[in-house]
Amino acid sequence: MFVIAPFLWALSTSFKDFNSVTGGAKYIPWLQFEPSLEGWSVLIRSQGKGGVNIIEPYFNSVFVTCSASLLSIIFGTLAAYALSRFTFKAGFIKNNDITFFFISQRIMPPIVLSIPFFLMLGFLGLLDSLLGLILVYMVLLMPIAVWIMVDFFNRVPKEIDETALIDGCNPFEAFFKVVLPNSIPGLIVAGLFCIIFGWIDFFFAFILTFTKVQLLPVAIVALNSSVTPWWSLSASALVSVAPLIIVAFIVERYLSKGNLSGALK
């Protein structure tokens, strides 16, 4: 009950109108208040007619999250494959140290990076642009991709690529033709995690964009501070949370297959 209470509250609020919100807390439609679709219709109306600007941030968010996830998966998978299959040695730095270097980036508090990012992107003219955000998100997401994929490749038997090499492939062909098709489950899990963490990030989107480019969480929080009524606020919050709840059910599938228990260790 404690878990889903806020959702039910948001759901019921999204159908309220002015009187039902200001008259104190009410919960059940029809019984305690007359439901109205005002909150939802505001979402698709244009801004001039009193709508809220949510559709454009929505697509921005989807675009940034997906492209940053894709890029991090590509780079992350390549690096993870290298770290899992070959040995590196540069002085005292070994494979595990490099892996740790990748993963340790999650420890970095975002605020620490935000100020240099702010100034640097400003210098490059990438502040308030989608490209700048994608670059920054790659830093956030690549550690996750590397983390999950290293673990995954470690469990893919080495014999697979050795056979491919004996059959006359060069290492790249072996990787793309043999190893990659065999690691699709791992790629999906890593991809889902990247999408989740990209989608829920608020901080960088908040600091590095202003007006031209807005991401969804920022747009909704902006609603919060302005005078926007609760019903459209709740409706837009639900809309933004919805895709990930669907993702959650897919992830649950993989969780029950036990794919993640290793990856999370």
Binding site: V3, P6, V21, A25, I111, V112, F117, V136, N224, A237
Partner: protein, 287 residues
Amino acid sequence: MNFKHKFAFLFPGLFVLIGILIFPIGFMIRLSLSSWDTFYPGLDFIGIENYVRLFTDDSRFWESFFRLSFLSVTTVSLQYIIGFSLALMVWRDIIFKRFFRVLFLIPMMTTPVIMTVIWRTFFHESLGPVNDILSIFGIAPPWLTNEHLAKVTIIIVEVWQWTPFMFLLLLAGLLSLPKEPFLAASVDGAGPIRKFIYVTFPLMAPISIGAIIIRLIEASKIMDTVYVLTSGGPGTSTETSSYYIFVKGLREFQFGYSAALSFTYLIIMIISLTIISKLLVKLLIKK
């Protein structure tokens, strides 16, 4: 294998990461030695002046830091206790396990800030449902505007958001435990409580430590919740370190000083997390 190839695999990722990460950190350290702000933008060199100011003349930073430690330790221990007991309750039960997993994934997957927005309406003093229910008992606490209650609210929201993560990690851990020790304990006639103290808990220690550390790392970054819920207020009573640095750097635009703040914060975080993890390992594993 041809050894040139391995670099082709590793380097794109590594270089991208170094390019967009190490450089900013270097830049930040340099920035912390300058007095860059809105009036005098530019990289001048003022030595360690910022750090002197930080250590001698900025009680607000240290207060926010202690508040942060308090908040993260409380939330993480609550999350651990609730998560662990729930995991223990359901791990033998197949139907419940599935149900709770789905249920608990939901808060984990939702965007924290957006849920915080909803929580804010939830805790609204006169219009929110919490006070509506409490008014049956004739009380209406000012959840967001009272110094102490605001902290409680933040803790509740954080616990709601992240207990599921703890639960899922611990459940995965419980499920991967070997069966033999439990059988042996049953044969020896141990009751459920003794079984927990002598078998389950020690076996779970490594996973517990992992989960706690991961959560502490994340909790030490608390910022979105604070920003949306209370904006650090009332006054500065719910300000965490991240939020304070944010105010200094990106509201008052004292880039140089806030770079010094964030560098100090980073160092303190790394040192204290290392100490905490060492302590936990000693406490839980060496029994």
